[in-house]
Structures are given as structure tokens and as C-alpha cells.
Symmetry: C2
Subunit: 200 residues, 2 copies
């Protein structure tokens, strides 16, 4: 991606996330990026193609950021690394305006068949995120890592929805505490999880 394309996708990504895709005109993307409208069309052709480019770039950045985060916490036991992803989600949200998941939000506005390439990126992002949890769940000794990963990821989705609809940033910590219970349920030998499993 060229520098101009990076500026355009970064500006469009910010505006789409903050105010919605349909509510964001190509004019305001050009103004926000400092790139001319003819250049925008020369690079992306259509607004639909720009939406797909934004989602692809967002996926690439999220993936790189979470990989960095997990590398920085490589010394932690796998369960703690899994739980630390919730802190990472909260940090991402705080940095971006706390409007939930940009991929889910895009889904709201991409209802039509013509948006198939965007939906493909959305699905890929979700599968990747569950895959991160599945690797950690396997490392933690979960009996069914994919099932645990899907459950933990569903909690992230719930927290994102609540942040968006109710501006409630505590939802992420609530989701993390539910995740502790699910992990304790799925990883019978797991030490160091902050639930009352032992007391039962």
C-alpha cells in the first residue's frame, strides 16, 4: 500500500468508525486525509472498494498489535495471556473512541450482496481472533480449545456491543471475569485463575 493509500484508509477508517460508513461522504474522507477526491477515486475506484481496503488494513493492524501484545506477555502462563487479551481490547477501544468492534459495526451497514468482499474480510477477522484464543486455550490444556475460544470470543463481542450501545467501558472487565469462569470450567487443572473453583 502506498503512502497516499495509507493516508486515505487511515482517514476513512477513523471516520467510518466514529460516524458510520453511509454517513461518511467521500468528500470528508478526502478532507480528513488531505488527499484530493480525484486521487481517492484513482486509487480505489469506488467507495465500496475503499470500505474493503479499510477493513483489510484494520485487520492487518489489529493482528500485528495483538501479536505484539502477546509477545510482550510471553512470560505469563497461557491462561493469564488469554485474560490479558481483554485488557488489550480495552486499550484499543480507549484509543479509538470506544464504539465497539469496527467489523461488527461495518456489518450493520453492509447488508447487500455487493458487499461480499467486505463480509469475507469480516469473517476472516473473526476466525483469526477465535484462532488466537484457541491457540492459548490449547496451551492451557483446555479439553476443547476451539469451543473455549468461541465462548471467550463471544464475551468480547458482548462487551463491544455494550460499549457501543451504552458507552459502558466496564463491560470489558465484566466479560473478563466471565471468561475466568469459563476457563476454569474448561481447563480443570488450571492454576492461578481468580475464581472460587477450589472452594466448590
Amino acid at each position: 500500500m502506498s503512502v497516499v493509500e495509507e493516508r486515505l484508509t487511515a482517514a476513512a477508517g477513523r471516520l467510518f468508525y466514529r460516524q458510520g460508513i453511509a454517513a461518511t461522504g467521500v468528500d470528508s474522507v478526502a478532507a480528513e486525509s488531505g488527499v484530493s477526491k480525484p486521487t481517492l477515486y484513482a486509487r480505489f475506484g469506488t467507495k465500496d472498494a475503499l470500505v474493503v481496503a479499510v477493513l483489510r488494513e484494520r485487520h492487518r493492524q489489529r493482528r500485528a498489535a495483538l501479536e505484539d501484545h502477546l509477545r510482550a506477555h510471553a512470560a505469563l502462563p497461557p491462561i493469564d495471556r488469554m485474560l490479558s487479551v481483554f485488557g488489550w481490547v480495552l486499550d484499543q477501544q480507549r484509543g479509538e473512541g470506544a464504539r465497539g468492534c469496527p467489523f461488527v459495526n461495518a456489518s450493520v451497514e453492509l447488508a447487500h450482496a455487493k458487499d461480499a468482499p467486505a463480509r469475507e474480510v469480516i469473517g476472516r477477522h473473526k476466525r483469526w481472533f477465535r484462532g488466537v484464543f484457541a491457540d492459548l486455550a490449547a496451551e492451557a490444556g483446555a479439553a476443547d480449545p476451539l469451543a473455549l475460544a468461541s465462548r471467550v470470543h463471544l464475551l468480547v463481542e458482548g462487551a463491544n456491543a455494550r460499549m457501543l450501545a451504552e458507552a459502558d467501558l466496564t463491560a470489558v472487565d465484566e466479560a473478563r471475569r466471565i471468561a475466568e469462569l469459563l476457563i476454569a470450567d474448561a481447563c480443570p487443572a488450571s492454576p492461578g485463575v481468580g475464581t472460587d473453583r477450589e472452594a466448590r
Copy 2:
């Protein structure tokens, strides 16, 4: 609400949900409802006011439908009634196109201060839904009914997001199974919940 207003909010609600609010022109609401555009403006003034009316009407209908559902299942123990809400959510989704929660979806497109009345309805709907779970949780003997209700509701939000973004209707059943665990954790004396609590 007059018959004409009911037709307009019903048509607008269907279109907003299916294709998004910004993507739905006032012309298509008029066409879908069979009501003229001047009449639409005479009744609602602006599209923003129509959005608020749609959300209020959707809240009223959802509330009535869930109250009917719970009355029809009044003979069940409170925990089973709580879990039956997930089946009700799935039925609603199947009947409407399975694009998740219309109130969360509206939040994506209502980013601006001018949409404060819509956001008020969205918040009210969410508090009402948690309140339904809280009443059932109290009846089931939960130590902290509001905390359990908030957790169970977060699962509904997660399932809705996954249905929308990944067209995965199994998410509701997955959320229900997590809810069983959370209920077992919060209602120590609860009988008849399908988890392996007793085996621990």
C-alpha cells in the same frame, strides 16, 4: 399512534433493520408503507424523529412479546424461564432476518449529539432487558441478581453480534449454554440446570 403512523414505523423499522438507517431513504419508507412522503413528513417532521419513533415502537413490541412469552412459561422454574429467553431471542431473530439487535445496530449509525433521544430509548431498552433477567435471577435465589442479569444479558449481546457479523444462528444456543454455567455459579442451590456442577 394512528394506523398511518403504525404503518410508517413498521415499514421504516423493517428497512432500517435490513439495510441500515442511513442507507434507507424516506422515499423507500413511503413506498414500503404505501403512505405518501408528504404524509410521512406531516406525521414525523424529520427522519431523525422517525428513527426515534421506530425505536420506541420496537421497544414496546419487544417488551410485550417477552412478557407474553414469560407468561406462557410461568409454570417453569425461574432458571428455566431465564434460559428460555434465549429461545425467544432466536425466534425473534428468525422472524426478522437475523441481523442481531436493532438497538445496537442503530447505535452504529447514531454517533452524533442530535441523536440523544434515540440513544435514550436504546439505553432504556437495555436496562429493561437486564431488569427482566434480574427479576428472574432474584426469583431463582441468585446472591446478586443484578450482577447475574448483567452477565446473562452480555451473552445475548455477544450472540446478536455474531449473528449479524457471521450469520451464525448457533451463537444463541452457545450463549445459552454459557448462561447455564453462570447461573449455576450464581445460584448455588439451583436444581435442574444442565451443567456438571454436581460432578465437581
